[in-house]
Symmetry: C2
Subunit: 430 residues, 2 copies
């Protein structure tokens, strides 16, 4: 299968722009980028007029089944949100509900130009199935908590579930599905468990998804408990020997940032969720200066409320300026890289996240000829500050078109909506 994009403007992962370019996708990879039309015949040619072709977007932290709880718990403090609303709601979960929500979420993400996401939740078989059906990529992890001190790996059912997932799904679906390990958070995991989870990750070359210093109280309670920060706690317990994907990172110390940087960990910035739950604002400047790999995440729909990663990029950019006053600190390209190449790096996808010959054709085509995106002086700036998901004209993963001009190519969207509505209609009645 050969698909040629003709005379299109390309926005690369580093923010560079090439106009009037040709880009050829052969099967699942980009085979040519240039100013000359390549020779040969093509199965499909796509006119690039008024369009912008970008590397696909990565959602670095989410919980896709939580679209079930979108709008269910609003205007509450985090502790009441969790204990009065979310935990009881999660207690009622069952596989069909998770599957229906994961299907809806997959569709929503595709519509917003997402090509891959990192997920931490449970009923992961259902999440894997929805992801495979949708055509998306994902690093999926079983959210693991371990409150029992000195429990052994062989007695930890959640850990064993992770191991099972790894065996069944890691690197399946042509490498689209990867399994990460998970440590839910410092406050929910005993030191011994951190050890065997990270041992397993190191042994099998897996990433570990964690929540890290999301709230001030979480950060400070850890210091009271152990005399160290959550980051130092994880370091002491061997977690950073594996590539860590650390969500939130709102209350990190400078030393925490050094630990992340020297261990090649990724900090996932979730600006909407951190604002909405009153957690605060990640210190982006300091993390960038420390050299940490930084990506963007939506968190779950219960605290966002959409899982639109384009919104997070815009929000991260303006929030950074507004809270520091340093409006010229970052160029727009910084946020484009967060959204694309840094995401692929976080997920261990060495041949993705870049618009480059030989790389996977994970691409988003935006229609820039819309009222709210005119005029265009600099396509990179326009992308960051003007576009939203309504500009997404096409989402392509591994050379396969998943969505084009409002139509889903892999998903029966009416059935997905109907299934989801059936479940949410009665979910809280039982």
């Amino acid at each position: 299968m050969k698909t040629l994009f003709e005379r299109i403007t390309i926005l690369f992962e580093n923010g560079e722009v090439k106009r009037d370019a040709y880009l050829l996708v052969e099967d699942e990879r980009i085979s040519y980028i240039g100013e000359e039309r390549p020779d040969g015949t093509f199965d499909r040619t796509i006119c690039g007029e008024g369009k912008l072709l970008c590397p696909g977007f990565y959602n670095g932290h989410t919980h896709v089944p939580m679209t079930l709880f979108r709008g269910y718990a609003e205007n509450l403090p985090l502790s009441r949100w969790l204990h009065e609303k979310i935990f009881p709601a999660e207690d009622k979960l069952y596989p069909e509900a998770v599957h229906a929500a994961a299907m809806l979420s997959a569709a929503e993400m595709i519509k917003c130009g997402t090509v891959s996401f990192s997920d931490m939740y449970f009923f992961c078989d259902e999440i894997v199935d929805a992801t495979v059906q949708s055509g998306l990529k994902a690093n999926i992890s079983r959210s693991t908590v371990a409150f029992t001190p000195n429990i052994k790996a062989e007695d930890d059912s959640r850990f064993l579930e992770s191991v099972e997932l790894f065996k069944k799904y890691h690197n399946t679906a042509n490498g689209r599905i990867k399994i990460d390990m998970s440590i839910h958070a410092e406050y929910s995991t005993m030191p011994a468990s951190c050890r065997y989870i990270s041992d397993f990750a190191v042994q099998h070359g897996l990433g570990i998804q964690i929540h890290l210093s999301e709230t001030r109280s979480e950060h400070e309670e850890c210091i009271s408990r152990y005399g160290v920060t959550p980051t130092e706690f994880f370091e002491q317990n061997g977690v950073f020997r594996a590539p860590v994907i650390a969500a939130h990172c709102v209350h990190l110390t400078d030393n925490d940032m050094q630990i992340l940087a020297k261990n090649g960990a990724t900090a996932v910035h979730n600006p909407a969720s951190n604002l909405k739950l009153g957690s605060g604002v990640m210190r982006l400047s300091e993390l960038a200066k420390a050299g940490v790999n930084i990506t963007l995440g939506t968190d779950g729909a219960a605290s966002n409320n959409t899982i639109d990663i384009m919104k997070e990029a815009y929000l991260a950019a303006i929030l950074q300026k507004g809270t520091t006053g340093r409006t010229d600190e970052f160029n727009s390209s910084f946020f484009v890289t967060m959204l694309t190449a840094n995401g692929a790096k976080m997920q261990g996808r060495a041949d993705a996240g870049h618009i480059k010959e030989g790389y996977r054709a994970d691409l988003v085509m935006l229609d820039m000829d819309m009222l709210h995106t005119l005029p265009i002086y600099d396509p990179c700036d326009s992308f960051l500050y003007c576009t939203n998901s309504s500009n997404v004209a096409m989402t392509m993963v591994d050379g396969k078109i998943l969505y084009e001009n409002g139509e889903f190519k892999t998903l029966d969207i009416e059935k997905i909506k109907a299934d989801f509505k059936n479940i949410t209609k009665t979910y809280f009645q039982n």
Copy 2:
């Protein structure tokens, strides 16, 4: 003309919700709201299934011609943004360019559910014409600066232009167009000019649009210059005798807020622009506690970059939680009221901004049956946190449909885009 909305969910300006309701629009007003289908025949019936009917949205502060400069000056500090980019760009303005931009902006606002806006700029004849053509409402003011000390009203050409505008357009187009006076800002206006401008406003019952304490330096330089804050300066010079529409209000003191409250002034919150230009975050809690009428504004597209007022409501809500940590301080309804009833109050439109029998039929119908808005537990919460402009299925002003299911009813959208692109293509070449 009789239009009946059948079995629709109504979100009122105070956040209350009525399901399965009937709402009848007769000519330009709402004539019936109830649970029973009204008798009679109707020119049009609209099925309310999956829809949410809201009061139309007010954009409290913008400069519509600035869509010309959307994306033109990015990632700069405010002073360089203004002096190196925006002021020189504005020096090149000419009527056709302003008209083309105002037409594009009108379309963009209609698509985002805006029914009325407050504008401060120049070439106002062009802005009035675009507004009248579009079917929108607006309070339009000629941005007035006056650097000459003790200049007399009769020698102030900008003031005289405002007077001219008032005579030509105030309360025209069936009351849709109102003319406000304008005082650009404290730093750009001499005390004597504040006097004659506010005298004129008082004499003719007009509002005065001002920029107020947008940046810290503006606020502090005023204190150095006059020994009082910008708000106190305006009070001393009689400005608050008229209804003031004060944009930004980021750096107000508690006493400033008292002055606004006791004089019935409106503070316009522009969260996106204030973040993006590094100005900071308005103290919403304190303004609300002081009893100030608070609305939302996009500011111009050069600093936003869209003029989508729905985005501002969402942003105001999450920003407030994130910067204060008080996630339960405001219900969603607070922001709905800012977006609707408070806007009508600000603009002196006594029979608008409410869904109420006898009031103007300024309505927005949202399609809630979209991926990113499912499920719906509380329509008011869903509206604030989940919807965006892609949910807007209809915008109606004075009973007239301006936009429905992607189609503009009053505007030739292809011509508007073509005209705008022609102008912006060459704008900076001369």
